[in-house]
């Protein structure tokens, strides 16, 4: 009965993961990360229902909190990079390397 939710979760996660891997726009990649997080949330809530306890739901809340904090910091960084380099391509921001 919960299989459909899980399938949806997997689909969303896969879309998010592929997006992170293939898109160069920082904003889009960022949104794909959010998509993966929410796919996880869906899976967690589904399992919580399946097992009849609230652990999964609680963890989903934690994920939301983390995601919110991440959005705040992440967006700030992306905006700053865009301001200095006039570009939001993550492949251009490759100075931090060996």
């Amino acid at each position: 009965m919960t299989t459909h939710y899980l399938v949806l979760s997997v689909l969303l996660f896969t879309i998010g993961a592929v997006g992170v891997l293939i898109r160069r726009n920082a904003i889009v990649a960022f949104m794909c990360v959010e998509l993966m997080l929410n796919a996880c949330n869906l899976a967690l809530v589904t399992f919580a229902r399946q097992h009849g306890n609230l652990d999964g739901q609680i963890i989903a809340f934690f994920v939301m909190v983390v995601a919110a904090a991440e959005v705040v910091v992440g967006l700030a960084i992306i905006v700053t990079i865009f301001r200095t380099r006039r570009s939001a391509s993550i492949d251009d921001a490759n100075l931090l390397k060996y």
């Binding site: 993961a17 992170v20 891997l21 293939i22 160069r24 990649a29 993550i90 492949d91 921001a93 490759n94 100075l95 931090l96 390397k97 060996y98």
Partner: protein, 632 residues
């Protein structure tokens, strides 16, 4: 082998015989620690200490003469040296007192001579300090009543010898010679040390008394090993084959040192060791036979070397080797030869010291020239030196009725008694002695004057000639005194054992007459070649044999190719292994890790998406692994 019992000393001068060692040692300490303040009177203190030691030795000797024969071996305990291992004590017996008299007597004369010889040397005080140190160490060597005490003295004389050969250390040749003497002696000392260890493990003691008492009960093989190891030590100290190479170079030291240490006393320590350990050799016939072989080989080798040397001191050094070879030969014959070995040792101490000091007197007169080809016709200008040298020369070639005649003849007779082949070889050696010593004599004092232009030879001062005169008196009369009516044999009997049958001296025995004939032939040949004929100032190239002898029978070349070169190769291989093997492993490991990390960090390429890819991949692997584990 019957020797007298060692009894405890109950006082008298023998009870304070440690003064013999302590006095010169005190002199050395004062002179070495006193430094420049003692420059003014240092040589006098050195002489005084040596003479005082001689006086103690003489009084102790007289005291021994006054005792009954079975009372003549006296132990003088001093203190517990290594608790449970060795009690330090002195053994005053006829053998050790003979050595003490020779060391302090000849030593004192050479001390006195050195006052004159070293008068222009700024370091005269240091010289006397070392001489005193040597006398003290040598006396400890011969007076100690155990092998450990002997070993301390043994190393002490080695040190003194090293310091004195290298006394003029500003000369590279002297510094090298000192090092060479030290290193070659180390080989011998190594043998002696192992020998003493073996004595300790075999007999449970290192004191002479207990060891010799039970020597016969030990295993034959062990006794032979001990005998050979002690012989190795003796070979090192006494410059016997195969450890002879240092003695000729040791002539770099001041001449009084050559006379005292490298002719009269220290180099005879090996003979002392073999004679003292007679009880061990008595039961180890193989080792004893090897001693005689070493003796004969060295007496011939030394004589051949002596024939070709133009340096007066080196010619004398070759002769020293040869004469100690005679002593070694006699010491290897057992009780029948011991007295002759010691008799020859004592007379040799006199006539060889006499000749060395004479050579020093000549060098002193000739601006330190040592090449005999630059001497010639010296006797009219230095008559005392020439006459005293002549007595020493006649004594060593065995001119009838002089010292060497009696003692060398004794050795030859005793050898004939035991092993005729070795005996005839010793006779041949005597003939060669006649040749090379005459060569020295003729080239130095007779013939045409071949002096350098600025040479103004003159007789040496009295402080140098008086010791020469005393020594030459010993060279003339001592042999007859010791040998006739077996005086020394009987005196030494309590210490070294009485031979089964006493050898009486016969002037008309066949070997004795053959020896005289050979010596006469040698002298005649030397006269033809070096007395009558012109001696060229520059040495002619000479035959193969001459080169062979000039190069010390290729002893140095042999050592170089057998030990030095392989040793160098060994160190080179070790260095190569260290550089390439050990260092290579360590450095290679470090370089490998560095290189790998250098390549690995390329993964850190700055592209966020490739990081994401590796995270995804990693997560997939983790999930896969979990699933796999879950299904098991």
């Amino acid at each position: 082998m019957e020797t007298a019992e060692i009894i405890q000393n109950t006082g008298g001068v023998i009870g304070v015989s440690w003064l013999m060692i302590a006095l010169p040692l005190l002199g050395a300490v004062v002179l070495l620690l006193g430094g420049r303040r003692t420059n003014g009177w240092g040589h006098l203190l050195g002489v005084a200490m040596s003479v005082a030691s001689f006086v103690v030795a003489v009084v102790a000797f007289i005291e021994i003469l006054g005792l009954a024969e079975d009372q003549r071996r006296q132990a003088v305990p001093l203190y517990d040296f290594i608790p449970g291992l060795a009690k330090m004590g002195l053994l005053i017996d006829p053998l050790s007192i003979c050595f003490a008299l020779l060391i302090t007597g000849v030593g004192s004369l050479i001390h006195i001579y050195s006052i004159g010889y070293m008068s222009h040397d700024p370091d005269r005080r240091r010289f006397f300090a070392y001489l005193n140190l040597f006398v003290a160490a040598m006396l400890l060597l011969v007076l100690a009543d155990n092998y450990v005490g002997l070993y301390i003295g043994w190393e002490g004389v080695g040190l003194a010898s090293y310091l004195l050969i290298g006394f003029w250390q500003h000369k590279p040749s002297a510094a090298t010679a000192a090092k060479k003497a030290f290193i070659v002696n180390r080989v011998g000392d190594f043998g002696l040390a192992i020998g003493i260890f073996t004595i300790w493990t075999t007999f449970g003691s290192v004191a002479y008394g207990p060891v010799f008492e039970v020597a016969g009960q030990a295993d034959q093989g062990v006794l032979t090993a001990i005998g050979l190891l002690l012989l190795l030590g003796a070979c090192g100290k006494s410059a016997q084959l195969p450890l002879q190479s240092w003695l000729l170079d040791a002539m770099e030291g001041p001449t009084p040192v050559s006379a005292l240490i490298h002719a009269a006393t220290m180099v005879t320590a090996g003979v002392y060791l073999v004679v003292r350990s007679g009880a061990i050799y008595f039961h180890a016939e193989t080792a004893q036979f090897v001693v005689t072989i070493v003796g004969v080989a060295t007496l011939l080798a030394g004589a051949i070397i002596g024939c070709a040397k133009d340096d007066i001191k080196k010619a004398l050094a070759g002769s020293t080797m040869s004469q100690i070879g005679y002593m070694m030969l006699a010491a290897g014959l057992g009780p029948v030869g011991y007295a002759f070995a010691i008799a020859h040792l004592i007379t040799h101490g006199f006539f060889k010291a006499n000749m060395f000091l004479g050579a020093g007197s000549v060098m002193h007169a000739m601006n330190d020239e040592v090449d005999m080809r630059k001497y010639g016709g010296l006797w009219p200008v230095m008559k005392v030196t020439a006459v005293t040298f002549l007595t020493g020369y006649l004594a060593i070639i065995g001119f009838p009725l002089l010292s060497g005649y009696f003692t060398k003849d004794g050795i030859i007779e005793a050898t004939m008694h035991v092993n005729p082949v070795l005996g005839w070889l010793a006779v041949a050696g005597a003939g060669i002695t006649g040749f090379y010593m005459s060569r020295v004599m003729f080239m130095t004092f007779f013939g045409k004057r071949r002096w350098a232009e600025d040479a103004h030879p003159h007789e040496s001062p009295a402080v140098m000639t008086i010791p020469l005169i005393i020594l030459s008196v010993g060279s003339v009369f001592l042999g007859a005194f010791l040998i006739l009516s077996n005086r020394l044999t009987l005196f030494l009997a309590p210490a070294v054992g009485r031979p089964k049958d006493l050898l009486e001296f016969h002037w008309n025995s066949t070997p004795g007459l053959v020896t005289l004939a050979l010596v006469a032939a040698g002298v005649a040949l030397a006269w033809v070649k070096y007395g009558r004929a012109e001696v060229p100032q520059v040495a002619p190239r000479g035959s193969f044999l001459t080169t062979f002898a000039r190069r010390d029978l290729y002893g140095d070349a042999l050592n170089e190719s057998l030990f030095m070169r392989p040793g160098q190769w060994l160190t080179r291989i070790a260095v190569f292994f260290d550089n390439r093997g050990v260092d290579g492993l360590v450095n290679g490991l470090a370089a490998g890790i560095g290189g790998t990390s250098g390549r690995l960090r390329r993964l850190q390429n700055g592209f966020v998406r490739s990081y994401a890819m590796s995270i995804l991949f990693g997560a997939a692997v983790v999930v896969g692994a979990l699933l796999y584990v879950g299904t098991m």
